[in-house]
Symmetry: C2
Subunit: 342 residues, 2 copies
Amino acid sequence: MPDSGKEITIYDIAEKLKVSAATVSRALKDHPRVNKNTKKKIIKAAEEMGYRSNSFASNLRRKNSNIIGVIVPRLNSSFMSDVIAGIEKVVNDNNYNLIISQSLETMKKEISNARAMLNNRVDGLLVSLAYDTTSIEHFEPFIKRNIPVLFFDRIFEHEQYPQIYIDNFKAAYEVTKHLLEQGCKRIVHITGNQLRNVYAERLRGYKKALEEHQIDFDGQLVIINDLSAKEAAVAAETILQMDPLPDGIFTVNDVSAVSCIQVLKKAGIKIPEQIAVAGFNNDPAACVIEPNLTTVNYKGYEMGEVAANMLINHLANRQDLQQTHSLILRSELIIRESSRRK
Amino acid sequence: MPDSGKEITIYDIAEKLKVSAATVSRALKDHPRVNKNTKKKIIKAAEEMGYRSNSFASNLRRKNSNIIGVIVPRLNSSFMSDVIAGIEKVVNDNNYNLIISQSLETMKKEISNARAMLNNRVDGLLVSLAYDTTSIEHFEPFIKRNIPVLFFDRIFEHEQYPQIYIDNFKAAYEVTKHLLEQGCKRIVHITGNQLRNVYAERLRGYKKALEEHQIDFDGQLVIINDLSAKEAAVAAETILQMDPLPDGIFTVNDVSAVSCIQVLKKAGIKIPEQIAVAGFNNDPAACVIEPNLTTVNYKGYEMGEVAANMLINHLANRQDLQQTHSLILRSELIIRESSRRK
DNA sequence: AAAATTTATGCAATCGATTGCATAAATTTA
DNA sequence: TAAATTTATGCAATCGATTGCATAAATTTT
């Protein structure tokens, strides 16, 4: 039974076994230069005495932490919690630890989170940017110290920072093209802050599809908001006031799409007959709303796994981050009833 | 511009300013026994030189980590990601850091997570138990070391561990009572592993309500599964085979309820007329499914905040954990169309 | 049997911040 | 002006694990 009074250290084990602390240290990490029997004895004693390695002492000496930091806008979105789950899985399987913080969509908090991560001497950082982040200076101290910073999903184009994302341009292009092919002529696009690649790229894709179908881009049809359910409901009311009514809506997330559909249905609009709707993300709710929502499937869990693997492989020197600077994951358009007009 | 070669320490600052490291250390944490001007100079120099405190050294010396550990079954459920978001908020506002890991619903992983948390010398631990955890021995090392462990939601009754949860018995009782009042006589109950308080208590509440309405408990009507959408669909098929058909379903999570409703509707069952349905959690999908789902609202974000606050207050000696051993949060029945028969 | 090599262990410095105790300097009180 | 007090700073030990270098012991080679 371990003594509850005081934490056991390698010195305690050393003393008990009449060996040096150095030998204990080596034995516990299976260093080849320790006699098999000694090793066995030490491991047994450590077990019996309830020894737990002090990672602070170890990290201090070794100058690395085995900690991966994660900064995301919010933890409680369907997509992000999938990403985090994927990251956690990989990180944990590789004997790293995970420190997580959320920027709550503000650059200010993101900066303070980054400082904390630096103090905690993370070995690497995974970041998805806040809604209003305009610069990434706050990650420079990491680069200076040679700590890899990897952006995912909400990225920032920059030589120094590898990135993982999907082809938002293409995905949005395909969504819009699909809507056009269903006969839509006036498609409202609900999107977020154009600072963020994901939203800017999707707008580009939307425009490109219109262009190919010889439809003039109409700025009036683009609504920019914070992508919450609440704002989407407001947007839907705006849409109801439009004259003529649009015949399609492409929102950049499913939360907005669902919220819109609910308002429009309540107003007596037939979906997809009068207005076809498509979202983005394939949230669970996409298969619950009636009609089921056409959307872009985009596996968060997988993105988390890939991002974490890439970082850890790099840390283990198994992979050069600069070499695989950008990684583009697959996404797919899923057509459901909310946009299908035959 | 900070030198990129080497990490700046208090010794570097001390040398540059011709003071001792002790003074630098004190100045940086605003110790009263340092001259104002000296302080100012030191803080300025630290800033200029790009000094970042090494938390390992500091933690090693101070013997605490400012880290809160969290172990949950899964990160990617609507409820749990809300809880985590709440925890992160409070933890971050109090200058603690958050280490998170998921047990993936197995006791084995939970044990290994607990070991890692111990090595990381967390100051306190927040835990929601895995599906199949039968013993909590693996948390004893924390108690021995006087590290508080607090259970939330999926708790384990034990003197040493304070806990935060909702009154599952009462909530389930009210749900069932409500269904009975809508005229239901044969209510199927879909629930999870009875090892877990949340599910056992809800079954108790279900039984209690039946009893009060002089309806005999029928074991055939209780379905135990893993509460996934998939298993719920299977359960719904089973229900469709029942003869006579039940006239009510009470599932212990909304994911199951939604999945059931979808299957039942497809089979032509009218909800709530033929079968009234109620869930638990008030997931976002509850307001998306048609008919909208009657459920128990149960604020995850708040539970996370409360749990983290309780732990941190205790760590700051502002509160004795033993004193507030159990904290029961409020939950409320939300009646929607899926069960309303007038 | 001596020399060379291999194996096993220990010594002691190091990582960087903290803090009890001592002391010097400045200020107040008698 | 001397004594007492307050303020400011430094010394040096400490937290626990790691690791380069040295050395002793065992084994192999000549």
